[in-house]
């Protein structure tokens, strides 16, 4: 039962190639996207230090005030500082993105590995369930789940995460099917390496790259979904700020107080753009097929 040592990542393994990090850094879109993401991560972490006001404190004498020297982004319908709410809202958005994607990967990737590697009945059952879930539009599924679980940020994350699971199952399964036919897997099997070890040590590392790319793109989708759920009143509970719920309130005042909608709207656009650019860049950098072009 000796473990046969095989190159863990035969596709990327060659010494003549640049490291993954170098590859990523050579992609302008990945660098721009990454910078935006890092910016928002810093904002979320340091929100209490950066915010000029308590995001939930109302100033009844400053209702729907336009941006000014005191309130840089203006105030909302309850006299709260919009800049502070945007800064704290970054936490809800990023948390929703990270947790939802973590849930989706934690459930989706193992199922995809199992379905792809073992095939047969197991694959049929998992794949048909995936197909059924994929038939329901992502956001519709998330809304249904969130409505079922009840309105809270935590439930919104679960709903979004679970809704994103089928994408990861299908992606992982497809990659496994490709990898499974490679010689090194056949070799590992031939020398009697156990299935579990083959999946963990040889298959999984080789399907990781597309999962990372998909995870980054799904972050953008999840953040958008969180905003949508909050917009529909199914996300963060008031008064805690969320960009989606800020937009929901703002749409009532589009003509009188457009700044209420502009800032959360811009924030959502920026962070989603950031994750999409990063995802694209990662895809270009990590996609093995690019090298052979």
């Amino acid at each position: 039962m000796t473990d046969v040592s095989l190159p863990a990542d035969p596709v990327v393994g060659g010494g003549h190639r640049k490291s993954a990090l170098q590859q990523v850094l050579s992609q302008p879109s990945a660098v721009i996207g990454g910078s935006i993401v890092v910016f928002f991560v810093l904002v979320a972490i340091f929100a209490p230090l950066l915010s000029p006001f308590d995001p939930n404190a109302s100033d009844w004498l400053a209702i729907r005030q336009a941006p000014s020297a005191v309130h840089w982004f203006g105030t909302d319908d309850l006299g709260r500082d919009i800049l502070s709410r945007i800064l704290f809202g970054a936490r809800a958005s990023l948390l929703a993105g990270v947790i939802a994607v973590a849930i989706a990967i934690a459930i989706g990737v193992p199922l995809g590995l199992i379905a792809g590697y073992f095939g047969g009945l197991l694959d049929a059952v998992i794949s048909r369930c995936t197909d059924a879930l994929l038939a329901v539009p992502f956001l519709v599924l998330a809304i249904a789940l969130a409505a079922f679980l009840g309105a809270s940020l935590q439930n919104a994350m679960i709903a979004i995460g679970v809704s994103a699971v089928p994408i990861f199952i299908r992606l992982t399964r497809g990659q496994v099917l490709v990898v499974k036919g490679e010689d090194y897997i056949t070799a590992a099997r031939a020398v009697g390496v156990r299935d579990r070890n083959i999946i963990v040590s040889h298959v999984f590392p080789n399907v990781l790259a597309p999962v990372v790319v998909q995870g980054t793109i799904t972050m953008a989708v999840a953040i958008l979904a969180e905003a949508s759920l909050a917009f529909l009143g199914l996300g963060q509970r008031p008064p805690a700020p969320s960009w989606g719920s800020m937009l929901d309130v703002a749409r009532q005042f589009l003509t009188e107080a457009p700044w209420m909608a502009v800032w959360p709207g811009l924030a959502i656009v920026a962070i989603v753009l950031g994750f999409n650019l990063l995802g694209d860049g990662l895809n270009d950098a990590l996609n093995p097929h690019r090298d052979t072009e």
Binding site: S58, A151, G233, P238, Q252, T255, E256
Partner: protein, 500 residues
């Protein structure tokens, strides 16, 4: 140039033709879809708007909440106020041709009192018998004097449906037949309700539109923009924050009336339902911690009426001895200290609308300054209402549409067996006063009793009234005859396109 001039004329004629044709349809933007279109069952405000066009009532109210004739032309109480004799209008037929007469009234009242699904049972419970004197005279017999009776007959309990089709409730709601100016043509759930003029209507001269379409548009901003775009002739419940837009638009007219409705913070009195349930001091502390004027100003641009009573100031029964208490944080903190509860934590459940959400957050913020920790539980409307009806809440932002008579508001909420008494409040003394007020037909004596009722419920504070909404309808400026009364119903009688 000739052909172009011709085509210009043609175009003008076409334009005139279409505008004349569309002018005969009244499209009304509604916030909600009504429930069953059966006056015995209906339980929504939106339904009451549609019923006004479909179903005439025995009596109606006017701007000043006086009772005026509709299907009954006159009425008289006997000496001990236990029998109400009503003369019925001659020459009225239901929309299926069935004549309206004393027999139909008797059948209607019996139907509302007996069918399983009826929501009018408790309102009509005081009527023990309906006696037919002749074809157009009936006597409603009561077991005891009941002052709110006429007022109750101005709403759904007084709506007459054709006895010929009034069998099963389900079938009726799908195909209602009343004696009003319009009959139901089509209903698309959550989309629209289309009514068509009934040619045999007794008051047809006052009916100016051939068709009415009630379009369900939940978002008030969208309702207004559809109205501005000319897609609607009128829209109900315009948001107070949108009034400036309506006022500045020459093509639109704003129609308002102070309402009978009340929004209140309903507090469960049930054992185990939180720190406020058995602690009047804390309830008063909560009341003192909030500034109703700020709620009105911030959430409603100051367009509603901030108030501390269930009955609005516009009513003759408003108690003048209890002015709205000003916000007093020190007094609130003192009461909290006196109650011995450290850091009282409460949870407010509400229907997830922007309006209630805003009010809840303002209360959360203001009560927080006094030392309350307020958690908010916004729920999707139907699950919120389920909880409300089950009495499963600690505090609930209740929106009650109110009635012309104080009894249906005060008794239903505060009477020990009131139908809206969902918070488990009971005070035998208040029951006694409210029942005495029901039996008192003398206005001054009745007012005294309701003053006494206000003394009791404002001391017990089983609910904290917050404000009375004002009804805001916006309509195209070229519609004549829109009159909004305190019940907030768009009355279709008398509505006409301008110039006709």
């Amino acid at each position: 140039m000739k052909p172009s001039a011709k085509s210009m004329v043609l175009a003008c004629m076409l334009a005139l033709g279409t505008s004349a044709a569309s002018a005969e349809t009244l499209r009304v933007g509604m916030q909600d879809d009504p429930d069953a279109l059966d006056p015995a069952i209906g339980g929504t405000y939106a339904g009451r708007i549609v019923f006004d066009a479909m179903c005439d009532k025995l009596v109606d109210i006017n701007e000043t909440l006086e009772i005026v004739p509709q299907l009954a032309t006159s009425w008289k109480w006997n000496d001990d106020n236990t029998e109400l004799t009503m003369s019925l209008r001659d020459g009225v037929t239901f929309q299926d041709g069935t004549p309206f007469n004393a027999e139909a009234v008797k059948a209607n009242i019996e139907r509302m009192k007996t069918i399983d699904e009826s929501r009018r049972k408790s309102q009509l419970a005081p009527i023990t018998d309906v006696e037919i004197v002749d074809d157009h005279t009936i006597v409603l017999k009561l077991d005891a004097p009941f002052a709110p009776l006429l007022s109750i007959l101005t709403d759904r309990a007084g709506m007459m449906v054709s006895p010929a089709v009034a069998g099963s409730a389900d079938a009726f709601a799908a195909n209602p037949v009343c004696s009003g100016p319009y009959k139901l043509v089509d209903r698309k759930a959550r989309d629209s309700i289309t009514l068509e003029k009934y040619d045999g209507y007794w008051n047809a001269g006052e009916i100016g539109y051939d068709t009415i379409v009630y379009e369900i548009i939940p978002d008030s901003t969208v309702r207004l923009s559809r109205l501005q775009a000319g897609d609607l002739e009128a829209a109900e419940r315009i948001a107070p924050t949108d009034l400036a837009t309506v006022r500045s638009d020459d093509g639109l007219a704003l129609h308002t009336s102070p309402g009978l409705a009340v929004s209140h913070l309903f507090i469960s009195q049930k054992a185990g339902a939180g720190v406020l349930a058995d602690n009047a001091d804390l309830r008063h502390a909560l009341e003192l911690s909030i500034d109703r004027n700020i709620i009105n100003q911030v959430a409603f641009n100051g367009e509603f009426t901030a108030d501390n009573q269930m009955i609005p100031p516009s009513s003759a029964f408003y108690s003048t001895s209890h002015p709205m208490p000003a916000r007093d944080l020190d007094a609130a903190r003192e009461l909290i200290a006196k109650s011995g509860v450290e850091n009282p934590t409460i949870e407010i459940t509400y229907e997830n609308s922007l309006t209630d959400g805003r009010v809840a957050q303002i209360i959360q913020s203001m009560a927080g300054e006094a030392g309350f920790t307020v958690n908010l539980l916004p729920l999707e409307t139907s699950s919120a209402i389920d909880r409300y009806l089950a009495g499963n809440f600690e505090l609930y932002i209740g929106n009650w549409s109110g009635r012309a008579d104080p009894d249906p508001t005060l008794y239903t909420f505060f009477g020990s067996d009131g139908s809206q008494n969902l918070n488990g409040y009971s005070n035998p003394k208040l029951d006694e006063v409210l029942i005495a007020a029901r039996k008192e037909l003398d206005m001054d004596a009745r007012k005294k009793l309701y003053d006494e009722a206000a003394d009791i419920y404002l001391a017990d504070l089983p609910t904290v009234p917050l404000y009375h909404p004002t009804w805001f309808y916006a309509a195209q400026a070229n519609i004549d005859g829109i009159k909004i009364y305190p019940d907030g119903i768009l009355r279709v009688t008398g509505l006409k396109p301008a110039g006709e």
